[in-house]
């Protein structure tokens, strides 16, 4: 049964330095508040897995939390580059970042294999790409037809962190809309943390594609309203596209980035005060 606790305690208890951490959410429901809390707690040497690193990992990489990144698309959606990610890969700043790169299909297959208790996944993928020489894939052939396919190793994080719309008081979790690879990432992990918009008596689908994670598959639930900002939570908030555009300027310069992180994350005790400061700036 999932315990319902504060985000600070949960991150402190379940994310030791050096962990393999997956924080998923495909544009929608990105667990920013949990990422900020890891930055506040100065987590180190993390292996960060995520299909689309997005601004959340740009911030964590820039703040020196990450030793390694496992990913498949590292851009600022609709805007351009992730400058802190690029600075780490191109210039080793703030320190060198090891990368393990896959395609989306490969990452999805790796999580699904992890969720299925299999050591590998099989796909029609990586055909003719140079990625093959730079990542962990293997040739595999069909034992019935002899056809050549690709195998990817399963991905089972130490802890997976997601943001969802709802949890009930027993710790069952409900999310809807675009749910990406979250279910597989949670089921593949040793431990899981879910931040939620609200805790309710009964889970109620308020959009398409209702996904439910039973309490006994979740380690801890932390109520964090607005916990996906600048991403969004369908039914609760809309994506802060202006912030994503603004991030390009903030993250381009090391000093501007450092000042922004200090002001909005390091000097805010929790997500509520982060949101308050963001609100003041927007207004």
């Amino acid at each position: 049964m999932a315990e319902i606790a504060s985000l600070g305690d949960v991150i402190g208890d379940l994310v030791p330095d050096g962990s393999i951490v997956a924080m998923e959410g495909f544009t929608h429901l990105i667990p920013f508040a949990a990422g900020h809390e890891m930055i506040r707690q100065r987590k180190k040497d993390l292996t960060l897995a995520r299909m689309t690193p997005d601004v959340i990992y740009d911030q964590m990489i820039g703040m020196g939390c990450a030793r390694k990144l496992i990913f498949s698309w590292g851009g600022n959606p609709g805007v351009g580059s992730l400058h802190r990610f690029r600075d780490a890969v191109e210039n080793g700043y703030p320190h060198p970042l090891e990368i393990e790169e896959h395609s989306h299909a490969g990452m999805a297959s790796r999580y699904a294999a992890g969720a299925s208790g299999l050591p590998f996944g099989v796909l029609r993928g990586y055909a003719g790409t140079d990625l093959v020489e730079h990542t962990r894939v293997a040739a595999i052939s069909c034992p019935f037809t002899g056809e050549a396919l690709v195998a990817v190793p399963s991905l089972s994080p130490d802890v997976t962190v997601i943001h969802a719309q709802q949890a009930d008081r027993r710790g069952n979790v409900g999310l809807w809309g675009i749910t990406g690879v979250q279910r597989e990432a949670v089921l593949a992990a040793t431990a899981s943390i879910v931040t939620v918009e609200e805790v309710v008596d009964e889970l109620t689908a308020q959009g398409p594609n209702h996904v439910v994670l039973p309490s006994w598959t979740v380690t801890a639930v932390a109520p964090v309203p607005g916990g996906s900002h600048p991403s969004y939570s369908m039914g609760f908030s809309t994506r802060d596209n202006a912030f994503y555009t603004r991030w390009d300027r903030i993250s381009r310069d090391r000093e501007v980035f450092a000042r922004w992180m200090t002001e909005f994350v390091m000097e805010t005790p929790d997500h509520a005060s982060y949101l308050a400061r963001i609100g003041d700036e927007d207004g």
Partner: protein, 260 residues
Amino acid sequence: MAEPPTSAGSYSSDEMMTVTAARCLQDGQVCFVGIGLPSEAANLARLSHAPDVVLVYESGTIGTRPEVLPLSIGDGELAETADLVVGVPEIFAYWLQAGRIDVGFLSAAQIDRFGNLNSTVIGPYDQPDVRLPGGGGAPEIAANAGEVIVMLRQTPRSFVAEIDFVTSIGFGRDGRGRAGARGAGPTVVITDMGVLKPDQVSRELTLVAVHPGVEVDAVRRATGWELRIADVVEVGDAPTREELGVLRDLKERTRLAHSG
């Protein structure tokens, strides 16, 4: 994103690209769409000559009919207007890999004469000059979509003799093959200057059409290799008033929806 009108008339070269791509889509086709010009083109087709084109986004939204253009692949608008929404492992396994996608749109930072695409790095992989976002869904779209439409602005820096990294396969660095990929690969490359198609035999990209007011020599100069030119180079039809009207209304709706 709109550029100033070109000498060709009262529309931008991006608009010409978008209209040309939209015209390539047939009604009822299932189309795997990315953000940006492909999304504009696919929705223009849906709102004009191809009302039953099925738009699939890698975020897991199938059969979406957005009123305004999404700014990200995972906008709520896409989920709210979709026939169904599925998880990401499923969109790649049950839908793309299974061969249910007729047409995939791709772009890139670099393309070579055999339609191979690079969106990973400029320079060596381990010591990149520029680290690009990477492949995302592109490698499997290139491999498994029935055919691929490439949209890419044409410059000597994007159309290069040797791409630094093959992110998504066209016809292979030597033009010899698709490395076992099931789809037909790139059947058309639409740029801001014209249209290129692979030669039936050699698979080398060949200029088959220029946009109104564009000189073939200009296209040649914008290409980083000795560009192959068709015996007859057609001149594409300028956007019709109706096409421009639908496209500009869509972009205006989008601007209003996302402003403030």
